[in-house]
Amino acid sequence: MQSVIRAESLRFAYTRVPVLENISFDVKSGDYVGLIGPNGGGKTTLLKLLLGLEKGSGEIFLFGTPLEEFKDWHKIGYLAQKSPVSQSRFPISAEEVVLMGLPSRRGAAVSRAELKEVYAAMQQTRTREYAGRIFHDLSIGQQQRVLLARALVSKPELLILDEPSTALDASSREMFFDLLGELNSKHGVTILLITHDTGEVGKYISKFMYVDKTLVFFGTKEEFCKSDKVAQKLGAFAQHTIDHLHNHGHCPLGCSCGEEHK
């Protein structure tokens, strides 16, 4: 399988104390990776390193190309944790925001083909009805869905998402994860997703990456559930997982390891 993200010996520090070190992994085409770890463990920093938004040491390859030489940004859709203008009054419509996800062009004119793609992406995230509304006037959850449409509009082969569901209500969250699951299973889109809610997305995810300043674990969810290293490191989360197993009689991650846990 083609390598989509390959990281080798990543290290990053704001001061002398490293935020991340010894991070090496290889995400393959079609993987759906849940990136988990404690607060302050460096998950968001890792995503920023992968996207070139922060500069650290080590090597990163996107679709086989070194990050410094990578030009095919339309292959990647990115959704950050926070809405960019939640506090300011930026007079821009939801459809103009989605348009920003398409490859940049010179001039201000928008072609009919571009608008068609914008509306198709908005249809996918159920935001078509907000197309003409000012982005700032939408609720945080609606804004997040518009931003997901922006991440999807270029029909990316890789989606990088930083806790995208925190502002969404239950029904929008379900729609959101169903859509991601469909993109992964039917269209082969590779997904790297930071999440704290392993129970909710567990049924879709194929691999887990656990980061706490360093790479603690990277592998399938079956390996994740059986890993002593993970059990040692997870603490409260492991307890939560075990409680869930006792209460529901199956693994909350949706893997086939439930029998062994019981």
């Binding site: 920023k48 990115y78 950050a80 960019p84 930026f90 007079p91 920003m100 062009r105 001039g107 201000a108």
Partner: protein
């Protein structure tokens, strides 16, 4: 009265140069205000004093002397924020204080204030030379061309810089270009309203426009319109009442801002 006002050559030159400079400042100001960099204009204007003082000391053209000084200072502000992780407002304060104190030191060395320097401090739109008016026209043309050509990159980098970077847009280069062109605008516009008030031409028209607009393109048109209208009305009122033109232009801008606020608060509701 208006006919007489417009018949003077110096008034015509002042209005043309002032309109070009005000429109350029307002258009650049829209991006600076939205990126919360608007006070950079204030910092640059203080640094102008160094350029003007050196020019008066060496009997050279203050505009040509100030452009490199202000450009280097704004690059200094960018470096302080990006490389040394100093907050933007603190970096502007540092460079601004440095510019002002060096300018005052040179002025003292040169034997104190004279009428030329006071003209730059408080503006003298009616003494704008033909070459300066042409330069203001070139500046506006550059701003408009950049805006039309890079409209999408500029709005994207202004709205959400990290996402813009993931589209391959070099947001750092966009910021640097924006600040560099603003440096030139600040220098060319200081004759219109004076060094002390130049930042108002960058900040107030965009803020007024933001209160009234529903689209980003509307903001750009309205901000430029407010800037130009304030120059025409300000110069006319200063001519009629014999009051300082620079201060009058800014007071007209403040009136536009107050009117925009009132309309956005009550006018829109009534329309609904």
């Amino acid at each position: 009265m208006i006919g007489e006002f417009l018949s003077y050559g110096f008034v015509q030159r002042g209005l043309v140069a002032g309109s070009f400079a005000a429109a350029a400042c307002a258009l650049l100001g829209v991006f600076l205000v939205l990126k919360r960099l608007s006070l950079i204009g204030d910092g640059m204007s203080h640094v102008c004093l160094t350029g003007v003082a050196v020019a008066l000391l060496t009997s050279t053209n203050p505009v040509y002397m100030s452009v490199p000084v202000v450009m280097l200072s704004s690059l200094g502000i960018m470096k302080l924020t990006q490389k040394f992780k100093i907050y933007g407002d603190a970096a502007i304060g540092i460079v601004s204080a440095a510019g002002l104190s060096v300018g005052l030191m040179i002025t003292a060395f040169a034997g104190g204030f004279n009428t030329d320097l006071l003209g730059y401090l408080f503006g003298s739109i009616l003494t704008v030379a033909r070459a300066e008016a042409v330069l203001c026209g070139v500046l506006l043309a550059v701003v408009l061309a950049g805006l039309l050509f890079f409209y999408r990159d500029l709005t994207s980098a202004c709205f959400d810089e990290p996402f813009a970077c993931t589209r391959g847009i070099r947001a750092g280069a966009v910021n640097t270009a924006l600040v560099m062109v603003t440096s030139v605008a600040v220098v060319l516009a200081f004759k219109v309203v004076g060094i002390f008030l130049i930042s108002a031409l960058i900040i107030i028209p965009p803020v007024s426009a933001l209160l009234l607009s529903r689209t980003f393109k509307q903001v750009l048109w309205l901000a430029a319109g407010f800037g130009v209208a304030s120059v025409w009305l300000g110069v006319y009122l200063s001519f009629v009442f014999n009051i300082p033109s620079g201060a009058t232009i800014i007071l007209v801008n403040l009136l536009f801002l107050a009117g925009s606020y009132v309309y956005s608060k009550w006018g829109v509701k009534d329309a609904r």
